[in-house]
Amino acid sequence: MSHHDWPDRWKDLYTYLERPGPFENDGFEPGDAVKDFLHSCKILVIGAGGLGCELLKDLALSGFRDIHVIDMDTIDVSNLNRQFLFRHKDVGKPKAIVAAEFVMNRVPGVTVTPYFGKIQDKDEEYYKQFSIIICGLDSVEARRWANATIVGMFDEGDPETLKPIIDGGTEGFKGQSRVILPRISACYECSLDMQTKPTTFPMCTIANTPRLPEHCIEWASSVAWPKAFPDKKIDGDDPDHIKWLLNTALDRGREFNITGITYTLTQGVVKNIIPAIASTNAIVAASCANEAFKIATNCTTYMCNYMMYVGDDSVYTYTFELQRKDECPVCGSAQIKLRIDPEKTLSELLDMLLDTQEVQLKAPSLRTAAKSLFMQAPPMLLEMTRPNLDRKIRDLVAPGEEITITDANIPISLQLTLEFI
């Protein structure tokens, strides 16, 4: 108990943590240790936007006391209707910092450590310090990065490196939350096919037969803009850019008798803005925080492993288990380690790989993150990388650097790490 706790502050939570129950998870031990763990474990919230604000509030009120938050955005006036940790005076300030200060002022005894920047700024060492990581992100790309990094961190020989990921997402009245246990349950990449993609229109419709205001805006942004400004990318937050697109789309609309093109719609189409409903965020974040509490304490079974929420016709949720995908490029990839004399050549390494019994490689292609070491196909890459075969391993790869191996004969990729002898 810290000095911030008044009598019975956590009475309701402790009801679950002080006694055994029929639904407790394997290995649950009621008592002080679990309470201390809840109050002291480090938890990371990625994103301090619509979901992030809810998550920080929920976690702080659920007994988590060492919360970290990352967000690269600053507060926009349009966030204020639902991102309730922010006030009008905060517009323009970093979300992570303002959210952290607000929660610390409001909930005694909680430390929220903000980082204003990109998730990609941080390395494995940073992510390793957390027990649980919750994502409240708005982009597929950021989720894939976080998922790949955290799944890739897991070392089977070291259970401490297994970091449960809880991922929340909302889109209008719909949402989802899920629990990912790296290499145990389906990861984000396993179910990438399931993601709804941004609305796209056929190029020919945009070019020749526009019928909707969106078609005109798409024409302005994907046909007229690159022609007018070949070297400039559209910045959806730059009012001059949006105004130019709006005027161009309006001209196009007049030509085809299409009305309804507005500034807001233009920005919405260009930035692919999806309506954000405050209650959807609240429900999905609550589900994520609920899972975080259960995973941290083990007091009852946690979600297995995906919950969809549909709020447009009453309230409907359905929870089911997403299956791992054998050929998932992130968690389906097998890992192999080889000990090798760095004076040996790449060609000798290839021979060693072909002799490896665990995997039946026939024609492996090897790359590091930055370099093509040896590519079996297409023919041009084979020619360009063939000279590497006679080069020493030492000159091509750094010790411990990861090499990705693909082979037309196996559906997955392999991660190879070399230990130099």
Binding site: Q195, K197, N298, A377, S413
Partner: protein, 184 residues
């Protein structure tokens, strides 16, 4: 408290994956792209891939030399730009030459359903290559980008064939001069 061992016991078989995981800076898009590209072993003689920088798999060109159809004899070069959100996002493909084709406009934009509205992450680079090759075998007058060319194809195939032949050699149609794309 957080009980990793109980997580692990749930599915002990999951450990079969292998040994330890180390720092992976390879992005999920790069993992997938390496698989796509290194699988392109047996390309037909009508297609060739080139990589200006062999270390960069995200930018490359595809050369198509159709061996039948209206466009036989031409050499068509497309640039592929794959973005970091591949395969959630489709690759961006442009034709580098000005050609007379119902589904490719004068700026090189290509109207191919799987590049836009029908793209799915299960498709790959090979699917796009096959799709592009198909456009030369069966130009499609129904969903045109170059409306004039589509109209000719629909109404007068003989005329269309002549127009293609002329433009492949750098000739003009309706006052527009096209690039010479004939194989040397």
């Amino acid at each position: 408290m957080l009980n990793i061992m109980s997580l692990k016991n749930k599915k002990a078989s999951a450990a079969a994956a292998g040994e330890s995981a180390k720092k992976s800076k390879t992005t999920p898009a790069a993992l997938r792209l390496q698989k796509d590209i290194s699988d392109l072993k047996d390309l037909p003689s009508t297609m060739k891939l080139s990589f200006p920088n062999p270390d960069d798999l995200f930018n490359f060109t595809l050369t198509i030399t159709p061996d039948e159809g209206f466009y036989k004899g031409g050499v068509f070069v497309f640039t592929f730009k794959v973005n970091p959100n591949y395969p959630h996002d489709a690759p961006k493909v442009l034709c580098t030459q000005k050609i007379y084709h119902p589904n490719i406009d004068l700026e090189g934009n290509v109207c191919l359903n799987i590049l836009r509205e029908d793209w799915k992450p299960v498709l790959n680079i090979n699917s796009v290559m096959v799709g592009l090759q198909y456009l030369f075998l069966e130009p499609n007058a129904e969903d045109p980008l170059n409306k004039v060319a589509a109209e000719v194809l629909r109404s007068n195939r003989k005329q269309f064939e002549q127009n293609v032949n002329r433009t492949l050699r750098g000739g003009a149609v309706d006052g527009i001069t096209f690039d010479n794309v004939i194989k040397n």
